[in-house]
């Protein structure tokens, strides 16, 4: 149905895939120190998966895609966001998104209160969302020639 690309493109994309995922995780985790955060890192992780789908075709890609697992991951990311906010309200900080974890030394990775947890939750949700949108649209590529 969907034709892949040549051997050179397939080899390079298979070699580049782990480095792109690592770069996306770095941008998510350092969201409170450098420009970036949850949304940007999530889109980078999703783009690495879509690159594999475009180089190989959707059926022969080396990473196996399970639909139910990705939908559950997206829901878990959204629920993490709401739960961290409600914990701040309930545990006596007085307001929604009040910090529960301690603010640390300015400039180190373990600082900023609840911010790294919120960034990780949104990163997982955005990555799963973009992968699902691309899968739903790519599955219908040979649609009209049945």
């Amino acid at each position: 149905m969907m034709a892949g690309m040549t051997t050179i493109v397939r080899t390079i994309s298979r070699l580049l895939f782990p480095f792109m995922v690592l770069f996306g995780v770095y941008i998510i985790l350092h969201g409170h120190l450098t420009p970036g955060g949850g949304f940007q890192g999530g889109v980078i992780i999703a783009a690495s998966f879509v690159m594999l789908w475009l180089a190989y075709s959707l059926e022969q890609s080396p990473i196996e895609f399970k639909l139910f697992r990705t939908e559950v991951l997206e829901a878990i990311g959204g629920l993490t966001l709401a739960t961290v906010g409600l914990v701040g309200l309930v545990m006596g900080m007085g307001k929604f998104f009040g910090h529960v974890l301690p603010l640390g030394i300015l400039g180190s990775v373990f600082s900023g209160g609840d911010l790294p947890l919120l960034n990780i939750g949104v990163g997982i949700e955005v990555a799963a969302s973009i992968i699902l949108v691309f899968y739903a649209m790519l599955r219908k590529v040979g649609w009209d020639e049945k």
């Binding site: 450098t34 400039g107 649609w143």
Partner: protein
């Protein structure tokens, strides 16, 4: 008479032209995207300080847990946060519009918006 504002307004006018006067659904969606880019450029240009640095505390201004001299040299951070949210919402709008364009082509066989007036028989 600065260049940022004039280019932003030109982009909004170009996007409006594409939305009103083109006869193809995909070209209308492209016009929507161009108009959104013009609006974002205008919003970010409103918060600029002459000769300012980005709104991130560099390692040189950090003296034992206090950022010294940073508040008088940085640009406005609020329009950048608003534009971040707006970009994500733009993704959702364009994805849904393109999905509906795919379905229109599947049912009617054409992408002309003046042909898709009747209900499917």
């Amino acid at each position: 008479m600065s260049l940022n504002y004039v280019v932003a307004m030109l982009l909004i006018a170009l996007g409006l032209y594409c939305l009103l006067l083109k006869r193809n659904l995909i070209k209308m969606v492209i016009g929507l995207g161009v108009m959104t880019d013009g609006i974002h450029l205008f919003l970010i240009s409103m918060g600029y300080r002459e000769g300012g640095i980005a709104a991130i505390v560099p390692a040189g201004m950090l003296q034992d847990n206090v950022a010294a001299g940073f508040a008088s040299a940085a640009v406005d951070p609020i329009p950048q946060a608003l534009v971040l949210t707006s970009i994500v919402i733009n993704i959702c709008i364009v994805a849904l519009a393109l999905s509906m364009a795919i379905w229109v082509y599947h049912h009617y066989g054409t992408l002309d918006p003046s042909e898709v007036r009747r209900l499917r028989e």
